[in-house]
């Protein structure tokens, strides 16, 4: 990926051709929902005609299909939005294009970003490029797979409860979730509005950082967008002297997968050699993060997805054909949403319904406050960053968790708490076990993305992420 900014550069047409060839070769992964050589060529010509080369000049980028674009459909991998093309671009899309990036493809995902394996797409599961029998993680599995397969150097996903860090870990790429509010959600189809963050995959820390520097920053079109400057490119560092890293004991249970443990132990030893100081800390409410998340997120989803009712977007179904407007709503939604989305809408509606609101939703809000407070207390006590495994195991086999929704939810056990607290965090490849990638998670205080990325770049420079960690 080039780094030249300012000077006018060509290369768009060539990038379009090469990217198209790579997309075609990767079709068996089922990682894309919409792309065409014509659209790529148009993007190539557009960036070649730009007066000045931006920081992402002629860089092809894939977008998760819940980020709306005028040039391609945006379906959220759901039948309920089949054929829908947005009348406007998401803010991040406009910013990327202005910086010279080429929108290469819309990536497959779990329907409406609900899932941890990208098996819940209405358009079929995505395969992990490292092992086609395994899942790429989710919900941004298509974006992760495209970067892992070398089709694009960078891609956008979205996080509600770990949907970029977890697939980054499963696919062996970098995945960065910024602080809540740091990247505009304008044009991201809403799932859990108090949690949703557009996030970035990259083949390297530097490339992910470049994308973040372009898409972050205040957006007047989005009420939760914070008035902070864009994320600066990190000062890439070679050592970690003077940095204190906390190891939360709740994230290193005795029964942690041995490959994950070996990889995190090796990464910790490497960071210690680079000069970092480690300290064991506690985040006592983290064990409640998954149940808390599975109350808060479905509740918000039940409200957000009420808009998909057959009136304004997508295909319309009505049974009986002469039925009233409620028959329209119920049939369209019953037909258009897949099984996991239906489950979450029902759970969300249940926890918000009369008689249950206090014991579920209010209780979850209390726990969320305590989870966020745990992080604040640790960071206020002299810890600069936290380091944990990103996932409890490497990528699991397709179908392995399909029958038990709760088993699937627990794949996000190490990533959920950060989302509830709104903090920035990232997953970095730190080794392989039996050929499968393992990710290490770095968690930072609010708005400390540049420091977090700098730590990651130091580790990236030393750790052999493709080496087996157990002999």
């Amino acid at each position: 990926m080039s780094s030249g900014e300012g000077e006018k550069r060509g290369g768009g047409d060539e990038t379009a051709r090469e990217t198209g060839a790579r997309l075609a070769a990767a079709e068996s992964l089922n990682a894309t929902l919409h792309w065409s050589q014509e659209a790529l060529n148009a993007e190539g010509s557009r960036v070649d005609a730009m007066q000045q080369a931006g920081v992402l000049h002629a860089v092809p980028i894939a977008l998760k299909d819940n980020i709306v674009t005028t040039g391609q459909p945006s379906t959220c991998a759901s039948k309920i939005l089949a054929g829908y093309t947005s009348p406007f671009n998401a803010t991040v899309v406009d910013r990327l294009r202005r910086a010279g990036a080429m929108i290469a493809a819309k990536a497959n995902m779990d329907e409406f970003a609900m899932g941890s394996s990208t098996e819940h797409s209405a358009y079929g599961r995505v395969k992990n490029p490292i092992d086609h029998d395994r899942v790429p993680g989710g919900s941004s599995g298509g974006s992760a797979a495209l970067v892992a397969a070398g089709v694009v150097p960078v891609a956008l996903g979205s996080e509600t409860g770990g949907s970029v860090r977890q697939p980054a870990s499963f696919c062996g790429v970098v995945g960065v979730k910024p602080s809540y509010g740091r990247v505009s959600r304008y044009g991201l189809v809403a799932f859990g509005s108090s949690l949703d963050c557009i996030s970035v995959f990259g083949d390297t820390v530097l490339n992910a950082s470049r994308v973040l520097s372009v898409i972050s920053g205040h957006d007047p079109l989005e009420a939760t967008s914070v008035r902070e400057a864009p994320i600066a490119l990190p000062a890439m560092r070679k050592d970690l002297k003077g940095i204190t890293i906390g190891l939360p004991r709740e994230y290193f249970p005795a029964d942690l997968h041995p490959g994950v443990k070996a990889a995190t132990d090796r990464a910790i030893a490497t960071m210690r050699e680079l000069g970092a100081t480690f300290r064991e800390v506690s985040l006592p409410h983290s064990k409640y993060a998954v149940p808390t998340y599975y109350i808060v997120a479905p509740a918000e989803a039940a409200a957000n997805l009420a808009r998909f009712d057959g009136v304004r977007y997508g295909p319309r179904h009505i049974e009986p054909p002469d039925g009233d407007v409620r028959a329209l709503y119920q049939t369209t939604r019953g037909t258009g949403f897949g099984p996991e989305v239906r489950r979450r809408i029902l759970v969300g509606t249940y926890v918000l319904s009369a008689g249950y609101y206090d014991s579920y939703y209010n209780k979850a809000q209390q726990l969320r406050a305590q989870i966020a407070h745990d992080f604040r207390a640790v960071f206020a006590d002299g810890v600069d960053y936290l380091f944990t495994p990103t996932t409890p195991t490497p990528a699991f086999r397709a179908g392995e968790k399909s029958e038990d929704p709760v088993a699937m939810y627990l794949a996000d056990i190490f990533v959920c708490a950060v989302s509830l607290a709104g903090l920035p965090a990232m997953s970095l490849p730190i080794g392989r076990d039996a050929g499968l990638p393992i990710g290490g998670q770095i968690i930072a205080p609010y708005f400390q993305e540049p420091g977090m990325l700098a730590v990651a770049s130091a580790v990236e420079g030393v750790v052999d992420a493709t080496a087996e960690v157990r002999g």
């Binding site: 009420a223 304004r312 029902l346 406050a369």
Partner: protein
């Protein structure tokens, strides 16, 4: 704690979501599994000592009250199922309240 078929029907009606008789038992089983799992939170003693969590800025920033519409690449007629004379067309309204 378990959710029965009748409760699934009730919640599905609140959510305006058609569910078929054939899938009711499976949904009841799955929702029970999920709700029993999240009910773990009830083992935590009530504690409101932590300040309430608020996502995003402490105060919603206001912008000047100036109309500045985002230019649309295409009109609603291009994606709405039925759009006539500037209106989204829906079937007749039925009773919105349960008897």
């Amino acid at each position: 704690m378990s959710i029965g078929k009748e409760e699934v029907v009730h919640v599905a009606r609140l959510a305006e979501l058609a569910v078929s008789e054939a899938e009711l038992q499976k949904l009841a089983d799955q929702l029970s599994r999920i709700v029993d799992f999240v009910a773990e939170l009830n083992e935590v003693p009530a504690d409101t000592s932590a300040p309430p969590f608020q996502a995003g800025p402490a105060m919603t920033p206001l912008r000047e009250d100036i109309v500045s519409p985002v230019p649309l690449a295409r009109g609603p007629g291009s994606f709405a199922p039925v759009f006539i004379d500037g209106f989204f067309v829906v079937p007749r309204l039925g009773p919105m309240e349960e008897e």
